[in-house]
């Protein structure tokens, strides 16, 4: 079996395996039996990704598509892609197994499984693509599948699927969103970023010698120097807008919060290894090959772009963490925390521009960002899967639960405790080592580049992040009060899902000390300063666990729960501007165009012209002869005049 076959199976198996259930949508008895087939398709992808990891590391595969245009099926198994491929496929597979229980009896299974598998296949295409155009194909696949999945419960008839408190209003705005609205908010925001990103790819295609847009082969330095300072800033910023919208960075974060109207399995996949991770991953991948730490001095404008990414990332991280402290809904709290984590990934990856240290040929900051992505993926997927079970059991999307619930839902309780403590950076658990390296990156910026803000934002985010995950843990299993409704049933696949997911955090912990490059990274954890941060995080976690609510802060909590009124941008300012433009176009553009082309000028003109042309058809031979003879005579006179002319 060669690599081409493996790639073919990897991308097509999820899609092909979900076609039967999509086709059989009218036959309910068949639809109920087909989901395992869709899961099997993802299992095939998982096996293929593992094969690529083990058998074909660090290779480059090129299969012609439109070679004249430099657009080909170019796939790579570089360090980032081969590991991310396995992470994506594994997480998708575990969530799919969980989904067999979670989605049982749903009214729209064919839709769900088709888009779920398309989502996975699209992400795998993004992960392995080395050609920017091919990557964009997968990118668009993610967009359409996310729209389908977030708006899955399109009937908008169950309050438990909503986001926000029903009937809550702030000024003219209703702060409650239904699934169909959530789907719309997602696709509209993402499209806003996709268009500039596509234009940026087109510009890179134009500038690249021989139109080569293979990420790993493009002469980035040459291309960006040719673009000039302004060109570099414009092109890369346009590209970044695509990544920022997908990864819900400021000010494009709103869609991610209301994406929680989708099924929990979708939230889990969306927040861990696909969609939002895609933005951060692609940023890491292109940074890997642009090598800004080497070329920034020679390419004017490049440092500006990375500074922008650094600041957008870190501010988004802090904003996300801060707003999450006031969140009441389980999944929305996790969504805000995801935004925060993605901000840290962007910030750390962007910091690579000023970090020259390499480990085994890889930039230190990028390595940190990537392993934080992996750790976060498994931890966050676990928390979402537990959330799904909690919502199922308590029939509420708001955080509530006490020790009694914890004792009756032991697996969920344990998984949550592990996932939260392992993710926030409590020593010596998994994320601690990665976050320590992150601290070191920002410290480097302070010492060598005199940038204080990044370190301050990182530390503030780390402590706040610890508080929010502690709140999630405690409000659902300890101090969240007795649930109003509790209906626990045995759902083995769901329990398997989050236990399998959380167990991967131990695997990563083991790898941190077993793999050479990761151990180099983990060394930062042994420094006293890192330990100090770790202790601060632990203290914050413990305090928030025992005191999750502070009455004096309730107003600011509500402000945070309202996401600092950022929904106004999406739901008020954008529509007002949009409708203004639409009215302008309607009143002064459309009517004019309509009048000109469709109702008045052109139709009248053509009607009269047409009648004029046909008016000479009187039917008499004599008239026709006169016309023809007259015209021939005219021609002859013309020729005669020509003849006498000098």
């Amino acid at each position: 079996m060669n690599a081409a076959h493996i790639f073919l199976a990897l991308f097509l198996a999820p899609i092909v395996s979900s076609v039967p259930i999509a086709v059989a949508y009218r036959r309910k008895e068949l639809v109920g039996k087909l989901p395992p087939l869709s899961v099997a398709g993802i299992l095939v992808s998982l096996v293929c990704s593992v094969l690529l990891l083990l058998k074909f590391p660090d290779q480059h595969f090129e299969y012609p598509w439109l070679p004249q245009l430099g657009i080909n099926f170019v796939l790579s198994t570089d360090y980032l892609s081969r590991l991310m491929g396995v992470v994506t496929a594994l997480i998708a597979f575990i969530i799919a197994v969980y989904g067999l229980d979670y989605m049982r009896g749903d009214y729209r299974l064919p839709w769900y499984w088709f888009f779920f598998n398309l989502f996975t296949a699209s992400m795998l295409l993004v992960v392995y693509s080395d050609n920017l155009f091919l990557l964009f194909v997968g990118w668009e696949g993610l967009g359409i599948a996310s729209w389908g999945l977030i708006g899955h419960w399109y009937r908008d008839d169950d309050e438990i699927t909503f986001v926000g408190v029903p009937d809550r209003r702030v000024g003219p705005l209703r702060l409650c969103w239904t699934p169909s609205f959530g789907g719309w908010r997602a696709i509209s925001t993402i499209r806003l970023g996709d268009v500039p990103m596509f234009l940026a790819i087109a510009a890179l295609w134009m500038l690249s010698p021989e139109h080569n847009i293979n990420i790993s082969q493009m002469p980035w330095e040459e291309i960006l120097r040719a673009a000039g300072a302004a060109g570099t800033v414009v092109i890369l910023t346009m590209f970044l807008i695509g990544l920022f919208t997908k990864s819900a960075q400021l000010p494009f974060s709103e869609w991610l919060m209301t994406a929680m109207t989708g099924p929990t399995t979708v939230s889990a996949l969306l927040h861990s290894a696909t969609m939002v991770a895609a933005g951060a991953f692609v940023f890491m991948k292109i940074t890997w090959y642009i090598r800004p730490w080497e070329v920034a001095a020679a390419v004017p404008g490049l440092e500006t772009v990375y500074l922008l990414a650094l600041l957008v990332g870190l501010f988004s991280a802090f904003y996300g963490a801060l707003t999450a402290t006031g969140m009441l809904e389980r999944k929305v709290l996790l969504a805000a925390s995801t935004m925060s984590s993605l901000g840290l990934m962007f910030g750390t990856a962007a910091a690579s521009c000023w970090i020259h240290e390499e480990i085994a040929g890889m930039n230190f900051a990028l390595l940190v960002a990537f392993w934080y992505l992996v750790t976060h993926a498994f931890a966050k997927a676990t928390l979402f899967l537990v959330s799904g079970h909690l919502i199922h059991a308590t029939h509420s999307r708001f955080s509530e639960g006490d020790l009694e619930l914890a004792s009756r839902m032991k697996a969920g309780f344990v998984a949550t405790l592990i996932a939260t403590t392992f993710l926030v950076g409590i020593p010596p658990l998994t994320a601690y080592w990665v976050k320590s390296a992150m601290d070191e990156v920002m410290e480097h910026l302070l010492i060598h580049e005199h940038m204080l803000l990044p370190l301050v934002l990182l530390l503030a985010t780390s402590v706040t992040y610890s508080v929010i995950l502690a709140r999630f843990f405690t409000l659902n299993f300890f101090k969240g009060g007795k649930p109003h409704h509790l209906h626990l049933e045995r759902l083995p696949l769901m329990e398997f899902g989050y236990l399998a997911m959380v167990s991967m955090l131990f695997v990563i912990l083991y790898m941190l000390f077993e793999r050479h490059e990761l151990f180099e990274l983990a060394k930062a954890g042994f420094k006293p300063a890192s330990l100090l941060v770790g202790v601060a995080v632990l203290v914050a976690f413990l305090v928030a666990t025992f005191k999750p609510r502070v009455a004096a802060l309730s107003k600011i909590g509500t402000f945070f729960n309202d996401r600092m009124y950022l929904p106004f941008l999406n739901d008020f300012i954008s529509p007002v501007v949009g409708f203004f433009v639409a009215r302008l176009v309607e009143n002064y553009g459309n009517r004019g165009i309509d009048g000109f082309f469709n109702t008045k000028v052109v139709p009248t003109l053509f009607r009269s012209l047409s009648r004029g042309v046909r008016a000479i058809q009187v039917g008499y031979l004599r008239s026709y002869t006169q016309i023809v003879l007259g015209l021939v005579m005219l021609a002859l006179i013309g020729v005669a005049v020509w003849g006498v002319m000098p």
């Binding site: 009607r607 047409s610 016309i627 020729v639 003849g643």
Partner: protein, 425 residues
């Protein structure tokens, strides 16, 4: 040796075909089937003699389809009508390769005169009034064409010769503003003979004119005159068709427009001048624009032929299968990859090549103007699936229109240009 033997062989085959047609016509008074059979045999012999490669095959196809569609029209000279169409087909087959002006002009007469009879055919009588209207203009056209051609050949005033030739051609095929006879004749005559006049009869005048024109070089102003005439015809035809109600009348104006498109190729031919060696093949032509113009013009003539046969048969049969109607309409509009698209495509390439960008723009604009009436025609003539003779004819022409979906076929049509002769003296 081959070159010496073949021409003799060609003459014999052509003569045999003519004899068979004459005998067929005579015997068809007694046995009607004989006329049909002799026309088919004559066409096969003509195809073998002509050696015009792809274009011979296409002419053969058009003539054969015309013959088949004539079966649907019962008339007083049944049997002889097949032989007349056979004669037209035979003349059309020879016009691509014959080497002298007299034979080219003879081909023109042989294509033109049978239509004088055909136009009058109808069930249970004769359309004498239409015949009169048609014949007057055809005779006039032939005279103008002949004077122009002979004047050019004899070394007379080239401007006068060229203008007369173009006026004769315009009147013959129906280029505006000399198109007055077209809407009346198309609307009043029986659709089947009109389908012959609108298809087979259009090919020879253009090929003859192009072959004569490419023997000389002309003043740029004459090229401009031809281009202006072409543009005028496109606009008059397409705009006239927009509000015409009768289907046959719409098709008449569509013919005027299409003849404008083909006249653009003639302008191109005049612009390229005597680039081609006299009596040489297009393969030897130094200007590739000329080859493109010829390919474009011929493909458009064939697209027009198949489309007109299809639509007139649909009128005769009071509608035909709707998807076929739309395919023919789209071919007329120039939707890729149908036959009509390739015709317009190559004409555009040649116009751009000789620097007539404005005419190329006019052609594209006119294709856009034509969309409403072609779609209307397809919608009004389109019905459900039936199987009658006219529907079979529509099916066959649709298949020909669709054939260019296979790109190798387009390549073949372009390559076949190499075997055609240019220049006549």
């Amino acid at each position: 040796m081959c070159a010496c033997v073949l021409p003799t062989f060609v003459t014999e085959l052509t003569l045999a075909a003519l004899v068979i047609l004459t005998l067929g016509a005579a015997f068809s008074y007694k046995w009607r089937g004989v006329g049909f059979a002799s026309a088919v045999i004559a066409l096969i012999l003509g195809l073998l003699a002509a050696k015009s490669d792809a274009y011979g095959v296409l002419v053969f196809a058009v003539a054969l389809i015309n013959l088949i569609s004539l079966v649907a029209l019962d008339n007083r000279i049944k049997g002889v009508d097949y032989c007349l169409v056979g004669l037209m087909g035979l003349a059309t087959l020879t016009v691509f390769t014959v080497q002298s002006l007299s034979l080219v002009l003879a081909a023109l007469v042989l294509v033109s005169v049978p239509t004088y009879v055909l136009v009058m055919l109808r069930e249970g009588g004769a359309n004498t009034e239409i015949g009169l209207k048609y014949i007057v203009f055809m005779v006039f056209a032939t005279v103008l064409f002949f004077i122009g051609a002979v004047m050019l050949a004899a070394g007379g005033d080239p401007v006068l010769g060229y203008v007369l030739l173009i006026l004769g051609l315009s009147l013959e095929v129906g280029v505006a503003p000399l198109h007055e006879w077209v809407p009346d004749v198309f609307a009043a005559a029986d659709p089947i003979p009109i389908s012959v006049i609108a298809s087979l009869a259009k090919i020879v005048p253009f090929v003859a004119a192009l072959r004569i024109i490419t023997s000389f070089s002309f003043d740029e102003r004459l090229v401009l005159f031809t281009a202006a005439l072409a543009a005028f015809s496109m606009f008059a035809g397409n705009i006239g068709a927009l509000t015409a109600r009768e289907h046959a009348r719409v098709l008449a104006y569509s013919t005027v427009a299409n003849m404008g498109y083909v006249l653009a190729c003639v302008a191109c031919g005049a612009a390229c001048g005597a680039a081609a060696t006299p009596a040489g093949g297009v393969g030897g032509a130094s200007g590739s624009e000329l080859a493109l113009a010829l390919v474009g013009g011929l493909l458009l003539l064939f697209a027009n032929s198949f489309g007109k046969i299809g639509f007139f048969n649909a009128i005769k049969g009071e509608g035909s299968f709707s998807p076929f109607m739309f395919i023919l309409a789209f071919s007329f509009i120039g939707v890729p990859p149908l036959l009509g698209f390739w015709g317009k495509f190559y004409i555009l390439l040649s116009l751009v090549g000789v620097g007539y960008l404005w005419l190329a723009a006019v052609l594209v604009l006119n294709s856009a103007i034509s969309i409403p009436y072609y779609v209307r025609l397809a919608r009004e003539l389109g019905v459900g699936w039936r199987l009658r003779l006219t529907d079979v004819v529509v099916f066959i022409v649709t298949m020909f229109t669709l054939a260019t979906v296979a790109l190798p076929l387009v390549e073949w049509l372009v390559k076949s240009m190499g075997v055609l002769s240019l220049g006549v003296m």
